[in-house]
Amino acid sequence: MATEKTYAEINAKIKAGKAVVLTAEEVISLVAEKGVSRAAREVDVVTTGTFSPMCSSGAFLNLGHSKPRIKMQKVWLNEVPAYAGIAAVDAYIGATELPEGDPANSNFPGEFRYGGGHVIHDLVAGQPVKLKAVSYGTDCYPRKELETHITLADINEAVLFNPRNSYQNYNCAVNLSSKTIYTYMGVLKPNLGNAHYCSAGQLSPLLKDPNFLTIGLGTRIFLGGGVGYVAWNGTQHFPGWQKDSEGNNYGPAGGTLAVIGDLKQMKPNWLVGTSYFGYGASLTVGLGIPIPILNEEVMRFASVTDTDLCAPIVDYGEAYGQRIPGNLGYASYADLKSGTIKVNGKEVPAAPLSSYPKAREIAAILKEWIQKGEFLLTEPVQKLPSPKDGLTANTLEIRV
């Protein structure tokens, strides 16, 4: 009889300390040995993980009321502007925001040593952060400026809310041009000098549930070392299957997640301020998602390997920046992890930007939480758009 399990049944086993939990890496060998049917029967949860720079990240902070009160109109945290166009002492600090007066790329390539992601990291690490705010003054909020120090413990709420995280898949970036380029995919040497990819491949959450059978609104996840939730689909969520002109399938791509969680319980080693030489500042986010093995179909996807999953190879020397469609072919994560791929007939050294060892560690931590009965699974309150919805990107036209 085909396996069918419910969330309630799996949670009952977790509470009883009897759930069988494997990481997305461990489950591969089990399925290879016993087959999908038996593995689906035996395993209750598969845990995934990823640890990558995720630029679309930030935190909502409620800074508390000073005496006299101020309606903060502009806010800076360690000189990095935070968006304050919401209620009096609420602000949003975005990961890629740069300090006021940062030379950015004026002395090319810029170093981007500090930014919003670093502010978030400092807060989570318990460091005092300098707060500056200005306002125009009102009868109810008379103060016009303020300068003080805050810590994460002092302020009221701090909520990490990342509008686009956990990219299902990502480009493998190369450079066909004749000069070195500095991108969000790292430094790319001219004439196919190197190839950079950015995914945990077979450990990466959305590559293991490509049809969004279990990951949906309200899914409880590992976020930044604490517990978070899937809040919505991410921005630019266009899940689908990669196909070439002959119809060959190169695995899933295009899905993203918006995630949310209490910053106060997160850990500085899982939210790390990040600098991309010549590109900008960001935040490296640790994220892990449990996949309940409800049936064989879920297990089949959860056990796919680096050989089945591929990244499209894209030229960042020209094609990416100029939005020229197409790619230079696909490379499997197995090939990428071997250290060399072939592009246009040339052997190109390949390196990751996303930490596979940290992804493995996240999947293992999540596994431990579940095994200890500390972390229960949640059934999505609403499904997310999946490949069958056929979402595609709108482009921005320049109208004059």
Partner: protein, 133 residues
């Protein structure tokens, strides 16, 4: 006189010239090539141990040939606490001093292969590479 360690950096235009040969022949210097690296664009780095009476003249000759000479007093180290094993440095480090263990994908650093070009200090997204004087 004990040998001094120096780093030579040279551009593509001079990497073909027999400058090291001249150091030995014209200046009687005894050298030991500790590390040498020439990357695809032919920009090279070489770490030499050098001894001899005409040491200063030898260095002046190198500089006259457009070679940048620097005493090797700096050392690059990895801060293991900070390094996330992301791998972003591994295809860029010109000597393979920063490399990935496969298939574990853990990043490791072998200081013996490092030519102190300091590229990793700039490209490491989390500033895990540090220079020590």
């Amino acid at each position: 006189m004990s040998p001094k360690k120096i780093v030579l950096r040279f551009g593509g235009d001079i990497s073909d010239k027999p400058i090291i040969y001249h150091l030995a022949k014209d200046y009687d210097l005894v050298f030991n090539i500790v590390k040498a690296n020439v990357d695809p664009q032919k920009e090279g780095t070489m770490v030499l141990e050098l001894t001899g009476e005409k040491y200063d003249q030898g260095l002046a000759f190198l500089q006259s040939q457009g070679v940048k000479v620097q005493p090797l007093t700096e050392e690059v180290i990895i801060n293991k606490e900070k390094c996330t094993s992301c791998g972003a440095c591994t295809a860029l480090c010109p000597t393979g001093a920063l490399y990935l263990h496969r298939p574990s994908m853990e990043v490791d650093f072998n200081g013996d292969d490092c030519v102190v070009c300091q590229l990793c200090l700039k490209v490491c997204p989390v500033r895990a590479m540090e220079v020590r004087f």
